[in-house]
Symmetry: C2
Subunit: 505 residues, 2 copies
């Protein structure tokens, strides 16, 4: 459900990939079943991946929905395509368990990020197995014969391999394993597979609101996103909110010769640099007044979870060629639980070979502020604007006229962009404690983050009042949202065991 865009390419495996033996009987059964059915599981996955899944491609989206409906049908689940006018359908299925006192909704999405096929090493909808990561010279190999085991470090390359068709296939294999082992479900189960998440879920809340009963449940498990970089299972109980702004400041009406007017005409690039510098100190602390006001502190459990999260800092720094980090020595897991102010981009005239000897006419920065529970997106944008005012700027919400520019020494045009409030639920909720126990019985020690660093709508919570937790299965280095998206085979195997445990909790 969250919009994640790991651009990390070629990340090393940070852990040894040692195999954990589950204490969960369904997970163990799933392992046995999978070891005997690796090829058919991957075959079904490949068939699903071969159907192009860009949300705007209605014809193929329909083919995906139909294929997934058939996957449910094969498992004895009556599929339904739920939609509203103009929307791609949510594929819905349900298992009613006699005597169940709990309903679990499993969410995933079957559409994928838009792409440019030219950037891909192999065509995005012709799934290719490689013997290791493409970035590490992984070569395309044939599928092993039926009955021959896969090397768990192999990777399957295709759009949607990780984000987010893998959980759908894992759920189906887990259902098969449960049935084959004669295990029973204890809860009612619902499956909701969205078809336009990567287009920003423009209709998902509408679909939920129009079908409250259908999607009702006690807990919503969002099977989307990647695992922690340590390869441990990740559980996430919320998202940071966001407030974005485009900020433009003004110099002369048009570019001026830097010789003839330099020192006299104000330089908007320098004005912008000064303004941006005023927003954050050397240590990464945001200097906007009241920016941190009202933040709800982490609970004891949340603090403990953050403290226990492995510190991937040194490995990530090596990977990212970083000689230092912001807010050091605080670790990443902690820093995503506090708000941030980030410059997405900055532009003023041209640089390098394209530069001319000018004083630029304007300078623009696009900024995102990530918010944590207790902050409001609109209020944060207001505080940002107030900060710019305090730096002496006359702030307008439209392109300033000549009159405005002439009558104020400094003018800033601020356009509010994306605004979404943060959300975070207590990991102490009994249903979440059940989920955590179940997940750990299948996958061993987890990483629990109070909120994701990214931003996502809290559709289940906001629309249905259902608590949501994210239980992803993809590898962290899956090139999600980028070219050469891939799933590490072991992540699919682990995902099947995880799903088997969750489906029987």
């Amino acid at each position: 459900m969250r919009h994640i865009c790991f651009l990390l390419i070629g990340t090393a495996a940070f852990s040894s990939g040692q195999v954990f033996t589950p204490s969960n009987p369904a997970a163990l059964a799933a392992r046995q079943y999978r070891q005997q059915h690796e090829r058919p599981i991957v075959d079904e996955f490949i068939s699903l991946l071969a159907i192009p899944n860009i949300a705007s491609d209605g014809v193929n989206i329909k083919r995906n929905a139909d294929f997934i409906a058939q996957m449910l049908q094969k498992r004895g689940i009556t599929p339904r395509l739920i939609t509203v006018p103009g929307a791609n359908p949510v594929v819905f299925g349900e298992i009613k368990t006699p005597g169940a006192t709990r309903t679990i909704v499993l969410y995933a999405h079957y559409d994928g990020q838009p792409l440019d096929p030219k950037e891909w090493a192999t065509p995005p909808f012709t799934p290719a197995l490689r013997d290791k990561q493409y970035e590490k010279d992984g070569q395309v190999i044939s599928l092993p014969a039926s009955g021959v085991r896969f090397n768990p470090e192999w990777r399957l390359y295709a759009r949607g391999a990780a984000d987010d068709k893998a959980p759908i296939v894992a759920i189906m294999a887990a259902l098969d394993a449960i049935k084959s082992a004669g295990l029973k479900t204890k809860s009612n189960l619902k499956f909701a597979f969205e078809g336009e998440e990567e287009a920003g879920s423009p209709n998902f809340e509408k679909i939920l609101a129009a079908n409250r009963e259908l999607f009702a449940g006690d807990v919503w498990l969002s099977c989307d996103g990647p695992l922690h970089q340590s390869r441990r299972q990740l559980l996430t109980f919320g998202d940071r909110g966001i407030s974005t702004v485009d900020l433009t400041v003004y110099g002369p009406r048009g570019e001026l010769h830097s010789g003839h007017y330099g020192n006299w005409a104000p330089n908007p690039a320098m004005m912008l640099a000064r303004l941006l510098t005023s927003m954050k100190d050397d240590n990464g602390r945001v200097l906007i007044d009241h920016f941190y006001d009202g933040i709800e502190p982490l609970s004891e459990s949340e603090k403990r979870a953050v403290a226990e999260a492995p510190d991937m800092g040194p490995e990530l720094m090596r990977e990212l060629w970083l000689g230092a980090t912001e807010n050091a020595p605080r670790k990443l897991a902690e820093l995503i639980t506090v708000p941030s102010l980030n410059i997405r981009g900055m532009a003023s005239s041209r640089v390098g070979n394209q530069a001319s000897n000018v004083i630029p006419a304007t300078a623009t920065a696009t900024i995102d502020m990530r918010l944590v529970k207790g902050m409001k997106a609109d209020q944060t944008a207001n505080r940002f604007i107030e900060h710019v005012r305090r730096q002496g700027y006359f702030v307008v919400d439209h392109e300033p006229t000549a009159e405005i520019r002439l009558s104020h020494p400094k003018v800033a045009w601020i356009v509010r962009g994306h605004a979404e409030n943060p959300h975070r639920l207590s990991m102490d909720l009994p249903v979440f404690q059940d989920v955590i126990r179940t997940v750990e019985s299948a996958r061993g020690p987890t990483v629990k983050t109070p909120n994701s660093g990214g931003t996502g709508p809290d559709a289940a919570g906001q629309t249905l009042g259902i608590p949501e937790v994210s239980v992803p299965i993809g590898n962290h280095d899956n090139n999600q949202h980028s070219y050469n998206e891939n799933l590490r085979i072991q992540n699919l195997w682990d995902g099947i065991e995880l799903m088997a445990a969750l489906l029987t909790m």
Copy 2:
């Protein structure tokens, strides 16, 4: 000779254009002659402007040179084309005056700035007369019949109309006027018309060095550039120097998701903003250590000239939509006599609709520093680099490797660009005092600037040891270097009178 790029469009006439009556007899004779020959003078100008004159267009450059050679020939001057291998020819001519004790070299250039014809309102090499500025709805009109006077506010549109074919035509008309009035030259005169100034004069110093005797003289009059914005005649005795740098700072190896890594991965745009802010205070003073060291103070004459220069500030601010200026209340004429630091452009990822939710990987600024006499271009670049070091950066002169980036908290790649030393000659030099007196007898009160705000090579001074002063004739709002370049007819008339005075001094 200087690389000027007035991007001022639609500038109002700041003065009334009142007609001054020259005390100089040659200027007066030129006025009488011109009033009787307006159409043939403009016809010759149009013929010259109709020949395309981009320096890289060798065939047409040759046509220009031949045409100008014929113009000299018509005036009884034997033309010579002086060149070195690979260069466009300098058209050279000479008038030897018996008993003369002084040699004056008049310089102009016949090539024009490269252009994109699509940007022009009328084709750049089809000269068009307009009844006023194009930006003020000036319409194309027919040439008046021979004998009918031109409105002096009409404008002739073509590439090179102002920069820099006008002085060539003005000199020719002045020669005709002098002859017609039976006046005599008192000095030896030399004419040097360059054919690749707008390409950066790649061969001019070589041509001079190879022909020292030919170009030798007592004073070099550079007839290039525009007049002061007050429309008063401008005299300029030097240029600012320049030192440019491209400065790149680094964040993560590739763009990172701003949610997942914001607050932890250093943001290079913010680093650049902080670094740029450290270079200049709120009042426009450059904060680089020793930046202002060694500057040669203005002489009393220079200070007086600066004090007497009309302050065009309020009009320019209105024109440029500026509500404030840097270094206020100091005026532009003063500020170009001190060094400046200017951001030409700034870039980091993308902004506005193009922005993505990333922490950028790099941020780059291109910076120019304009230097005044006593400063050295190389030394200024060194001081800039030292300043960046003092802000905690490890500075490299090549793209930094992973090893370098991993072993330093902050890394900056600095590429040195254009470096040219400043030059400025004393306006008290006797030959300059003669020039000033002569110019003022033809054109009334002048504006004298110790140096241009821009940068130009001191070819005559460096190569030949000849003192050079700039005496331009173009209107300040000529769209030089841009599309719709134009010459105001009155500026041509004034230029002819100015040239007549200079040719007979």
